[in-house]
Symmetry: C2
Subunit: 120 residues, 2 copies
Amino acid sequence: MSLRDTLRNIVESVDGGLAAMIMAYDGIPVDEVCIEKTEFDMQLLSVEYATVLKEIRHTIQVIKAGDMEEVSITTCQTCVAIRVLNEELFVVLIMKRDGNFGKGRYLLRLKSFELAQALS
Amino acid sequence: MSLRDTLRNIVESVDGGLAAMIMAYDGIPVDEVCIEKTEFDMQLLSVEYATVLKEIRHTIQVIKAGDMEEVSITTCQTCVAIRVLNEELFVVLIMKRDGNFGKGRYLLRLKSFELAQALS
């Protein structure tokens, strides 16, 4: 299954799934799938979330809490689950606020090895 | 129930619960309960997570994703769930990596109104 197919499979399997993307820490997306029009500028979102992830990774190093695995950010509009794939890349799943967060998180974990393999 | 009692109640009700604290965005803890010795310097953790939260709040404003409600950060050692209480304060729950993340998240949501009321 291609990277894009795997991303599409993740988004389509989650109630409220809007988009999924693989991104680098420099904010450049490797691949992305958007199955429903979102209000966000995806490019801006990529850059901003990459910056946040770098900040979180730094914090985790400072407090010596081990390697970062997963981050989720919920606002009154959306729920974003992020999973680290390797030293350079992470996968992001954007869901509606009332989407199935648990399933989204589970699928990211389940598919992260497959995605990391395809990218190595 | 006092603030500390509510925090203690949250930590003790979650399998793998280690500590809970109410913190301001300037990194100063308002109150904290630690039921199990952690490897982390709690003061350092406060300051670092407050910085991260401010960064995330800024990002959410930039991408216009509405108000921040909840953030969770999982590493290979711990799982940290954070819930915004008001413009100035947030509550943090630190759990073991294999702790009951779902219940922790649920309890923070459930108790956030009570905590916010007690702090207003």
